[in-house]
Symmetry: D2
Subunit: 439 residues, 4 copies
Amino acid sequence: MEESLLNAENLPSLDIETVGQANIKSPLEDVRFVDDSEKVVLYSHYDHLKKFIEKDQELPAFERAGPRRNLYFEPSKLNCGIVTCGGLCPGLNDVIRTVVLSLIWEYGVRKVYGFRYGYNGLTNNPYCEPLILTPELVEDIHLRGGDILSSSRGPQNVEEMVDNLVKRDIGLLFVIGGDGTLHGAAEMAQAIKRRNLKISIVGIPKTIDNDIYGVERTFGFSTAVEAARTAINVAHEEAKGAWDGVGLVKLMGRDSGFISAYATLANSDVNFCFIPEVPLVLDGEHGFLKSLEKRLDRKHHALIVVAEGVGQSLANQKDMSGNVKRQDIGILLKTKIVDYFKNIDKPLVLKYIDPSYTIRGCPANSFDSAFCLMLGQNAVHAGMAGKTNMIAGFWNRYFTHVPISLAVMERKKVNLQGDLWQTVIQTTGQAKKKPVRPF
Amino acid sequence: MEESLLNAENLPSLDIETVGQANIKSPLEDVRFVDDSEKVVLYSHYDHLKKFIEKDQELPAFERAGPRRNLYFEPSKLNCGIVTCGGLCPGLNDVIRTVVLSLIWEYGVRKVYGFRYGYNGLTNNPYCEPLILTPELVEDIHLRGGDILSSSRGPQNVEEMVDNLVKRDIGLLFVIGGDGTLHGAAEMAQAIKRRNLKISIVGIPKTIDNDIYGVERTFGFSTAVEAARTAINVAHEEAKGAWDGVGLVKLMGRDSGFISAYATLANSDVNFCFIPEVPLVLDGEHGFLKSLEKRLDRKHHALIVVAEGVGQSLANQKDMSGNVKRQDIGILLKTKIVDYFKNIDKPLVLKYIDPSYTIRGCPANSFDSAFCLMLGQNAVHAGMAGKTNMIAGFWNRYFTHVPISLAVMERKKVNLQGDLWQTVIQTTGQAKKKPVRPF
Amino acid sequence: MEESLLNAENLPSLDIETVGQANIKSPLEDVRFVDDSEKVVLYSHYDHLKKFIEKDQELPAFERAGPRRNLYFEPSKLNCGIVTCGGLCPGLNDVIRTVVLSLIWEYGVRKVYGFRYGYNGLTNNPYCEPLILTPELVEDIHLRGGDILSSSRGPQNVEEMVDNLVKRDIGLLFVIGGDGTLHGAAEMAQAIKRRNLKISIVGIPKTIDNDIYGVERTFGFSTAVEAARTAINVAHEEAKGAWDGVGLVKLMGRDSGFISAYATLANSDVNFCFIPEVPLVLDGEHGFLKSLEKRLDRKHHALIVVAEGVGQSLANQKDMSGNVKRQDIGILLKTKIVDYFKNIDKPLVLKYIDPSYTIRGCPANSFDSAFCLMLGQNAVHAGMAGKTNMIAGFWNRYFTHVPISLAVMERKKVNLQGDLWQTVIQTTGQAKKKPVRPF
Amino acid sequence: MEESLLNAENLPSLDIETVGQANIKSPLEDVRFVDDSEKVVLYSHYDHLKKFIEKDQELPAFERAGPRRNLYFEPSKLNCGIVTCGGLCPGLNDVIRTVVLSLIWEYGVRKVYGFRYGYNGLTNNPYCEPLILTPELVEDIHLRGGDILSSSRGPQNVEEMVDNLVKRDIGLLFVIGGDGTLHGAAEMAQAIKRRNLKISIVGIPKTIDNDIYGVERTFGFSTAVEAARTAINVAHEEAKGAWDGVGLVKLMGRDSGFISAYATLANSDVNFCFIPEVPLVLDGEHGFLKSLEKRLDRKHHALIVVAEGVGQSLANQKDMSGNVKRQDIGILLKTKIVDYFKNIDKPLVLKYIDPSYTIRGCPANSFDSAFCLMLGQNAVHAGMAGKTNMIAGFWNRYFTHVPISLAVMERKKVNLQGDLWQTVIQTTGQAKKKPVRPF
């Protein structure tokens, strides 16, 4: 829904790599197989399509996901691995469970390793040995938040990780993670290719911020918005509970403001929503502080949502060694507001809420659970067919295969001309010179 | 995501009617206006698009929704009305609130009437006078489930309803309802046209079953699935809590099985999911009862989801006057199961759960609330521009205008070849001759 | 809070039996031991106490629960068992987990058996072998509803069950169940005594209906009320959503109306609340049907809660063999209402909701989880000290030991003169001849 | 349940003051009236009662709450007021609603004023005029968190507030607030007495911390524990999600640790729970930091809960003017932990969660809603009978009248020898020299 516009000019190839020719008959019965030739077009806005049609060019399109009639891997001889990297995200356990059940029950693969603590688990000296993931072990894991495999941040030596895949005779590795993790996955895929190994690397995009390029939505996002709304609702009550009360909520969103924008629409009492995509102007006649003053003069309470990645020009300062040090925009904004109103001698009651990890450590809601299931199964189908260096995605009503090279090109951002942001500014009235909103 | 396939052969025109030329400047500032020429293509599967491209035909496409630079109605002179018909649906109050706030705050219309108790409120002898909907009155209504306007079922005299719109000098009527309601809206639009009146009728599709044709998803559906999952989770615990325990859950879905299918994926412990789109076969070696017997022999508990519209050939009986009388499939299935196992002398413990209205009377979740907001605002934009005989929709990542004639052509159904149903049968294993699922 | 009055006249002894003298030093450190001489008085209303004080009699009092300085059982040589009987109840897994962790971590007992499927698991031919309950196995079970041990209904041969305790060398058995189950537990304790065995039977009262005599509140009740309120809220929205709309909710409560009464207060929009303790009068000028008619004439919507045990004089009918057959009061009441209004030619829209098992199959809320933990630990402390033929209870702000003989004397009922019911009738106005309630 | 021990030595009188003799017949019908002679004893532990019985002394006892047969105030001539002070608390709107409905529907009083923004609303220059509270206005307010009257902190001039009660002809004022607020209420009651006015002041205790002396539990507490558990659950997942992961949660509780203790039991994965009643020892062989190190060495994750009032000796520092400045114990503890592990060169991953206002701004759960209803009705009954300088309480299964003088004597604290804290230390194992807990 976010209308992230993929720029046609510098699109990479959308073809999907494989580790070899798929010529083993799938054991799946009674399913509708999807052919590699089925494609889902990137653009659904006619104006974008016309540019290609008029020049008689192929429309850019993703390979459609789904079970393939022929597999590359012989299930009974195949060992698989799963690794999760980066921060928690609602639905992680749903995805792990689905991948395990689909591999073992549907395809009958030999063994599934669950590497522990992210890429660390693929190194020569991991914190822990991998888990052997059986249906019994994963049976109930979707009922809880968190990640039964645990995670870690940061890269590891790519060759060493590939060595460990070889050591355990892994043919198919599922990498669940965000931008940085997928970069690592791509490097592994390249190293595997250089060494002429037959190991597939299939990614499943995980980002609480919904900021993976080329993917319409990612799992856990809807759950995170629900938790964020709860915090905003409370801030609204706190703001209304005091004379000149201000509720200020900081939400996740380092580079992209999807959580803040959606949660603003889900609450719809928010007066100011700040996202990283829009420069934050504090001062001046049309700056935020003056607008807040006018708002309080009129209504005596106000509700503000700010994404953590906002205003890095304000927040960043260089430390003694000259390194940029990220400041907490929530705390900074709180201070700026309090100081401003102290200066103009209008005391206010500011209640600051930072729900922090609470929006990502909870179990997935139904919508995300169902999405995780479909996404995870499609990742398995792709992997069994020998696809590699790709992620499982969703686009224009279809599940898709997306080359990692596209997914990591850049972060998906809120389109400031799109429905989402346009509705935010219409609802909050924050862009108006004379905001009319009376609540 | 449901891949409802719109059949290209008998598509009606997707052009949107208007009550007159829009030549009044919109009062909206700082927004990105959408032009009537912007379109969103119906098909995103390349194979469908190719058929048109190869013949040099226009691609079928919806008009894109959004604020228009020019309006048909002069806001300060315009009275609007809202009417809600049919059953409750999570998000109804969100939609009403958004429409009111958008009309009054953004556009500055004169007055908004809330007609009470569905189309009854538009008759000459309504149960109640309409409410005057002000921002103050609607401020907090989104916090609760239900419908502040109340509703009723069934049609009313179309000419009489139009008379009442004229009597109150209504220029723009928002009709929130499902299939039957939209039929009524279309008839009103036609009567208005015949009488050469300048009244716009804009629909906002409401269906707990997500079964409006030509609309990718409808509000309240995600909330309903959440509530349905809760019931299924309990049935699972009840089934596991007893030796040969069977949990049977009946869910809404008279014609389409979207709720049952999604809730099955969201729980993913379901062993059998029955939807109206698939004939239910009870008897025989591959029939459901034998499959259930095998399942219980192996695992001693089972979980079944059935949509209310399933098996009408079984359920329907003629009453004394020869009229078809719908039976309750849940009760019927319960009886069939208990009788079968009594006959084969294998007692079981069946726990039947019918969450009934609890899945539709609750407040909207965040995802639905945000969606209601965007949908409602787009309906207002369309109405102010003089569009009529249409509904606000969503398709391929864009909000759209859909002619009512398309929306009421038929019910949207679960595509049995699509991702949703294919994932259901892979997850439950219900289609397999030798189901392997060990849980 | 329910003020169930324990009748002083026919109180049994409140002394607690033991299997032998406790003379093994407890391994617990840094805890505040409770002495057997510590007592918690039954009555807190001064009028009740005065009767005893004036006659210089001892005040009736429960033994206070808590860790004992001396144990009867040597932990390192002790095998324990847990068995759960009857229907599901939120918190069952919390209790099982706490008992296991307390036995193994705190006391260091040798082994804990989890008998499967209720008393069936203690017979010579159980459905399943018992689980060996380890800390690892129970680590996360409190996150889900249901019962990891599963359950069954009905009694089993007492001598056979004792034989199986002996066979497995069980010294301490925890029996989690309601009225019938505790009867069985008492019989086991008596058989053990007759055989001169050294086996303790400690009960933990489980009843979704909160109807255990001599216990102020039981686990799961608060969670059940929450789920019941959700259903009532929906029924309220449905009732208001239609002209002459009636929401009718049937709740659990076979003998006692605690769930219905509390849920009525928790929603407080209920107009009529019917519980088993109060005869239901349908007909006549002051009967329910006439009152409902007046209510609808005035407000055009109504909300009704009925406990399943209500009106058995209406509902019971004899079947062909002369056996009393319980009818479903919900369905019966629905029929009576619909028929009455049909007869007086005032059509209404009745929405019937039976949340059934959904109020008992969910995970425990925080309040119940904490209560389960304290209750379970106190049951363990009692058992280790050799107490037997008793249950862990709570009364007047203290955890207590309650002889099973007291607990099974009769069902706890809603005191019609007490705060709970008096508040219900004041809130609903249902007892008034001229109900004034305008909502 | 918390066993707060009321020290018999310095108990004030438990008699309840009145503004005059109650000799107007109550309009309530069909209720069970409570007589002023009915009392609820303070002590339920027999050892405490014995001390009085042996000396033939009266047992200390609260007056029992409930409707009185005779009123002091003539309802049709009575104006009432409600004022809410201090921070938000779940259930505030439930209480306001119940008081209004009970006064107007049950008793038929003339008018109910809702003073805005706490005691400020009773001053000569309030921010706002009071609301006129009607049944229609309060109908749905219990569905939301917050406080429709809004609040403020700090005292106001007592004589001025009494002047304003007189000015508006208020006979009965309900004051909803905590310790400081009740001090103010007592001062008003004394000023009223000095002036020989006939105005009743009835308090309803509000404290998210459950720390009102002489009251077994206060509304909103159970809801707050639920929200606190959610944050702890997330912290547990974050801790387990990383190697040497530590989850640190700061909860409300300035003087008393009830929320932290209960939430610890409700989650029961907590390893360290710190409350204000227990000195926090960071350093040394048995200090917290060394214990945490051992825990991480063994299990590589840990979960810590700390109440905001903990360790004020550590946290307090004097600012430049010599004033004590409270530091944030959460941030301080985080810093201490990170520094300690940096010093011993064992890097850890600490995730800090401060749910702050989110635990108090949400709507009341069912348990609290029902409690609010009973408490509020009893406050109304007391006020109508002319009781004054008292609060509505709950003790030993009965609703009670508590003199404000008792309630403000001191804060209720967690009894370190009682069931609650003893269960916490047994569950966490934090007091043990050799903690055995393996999770």
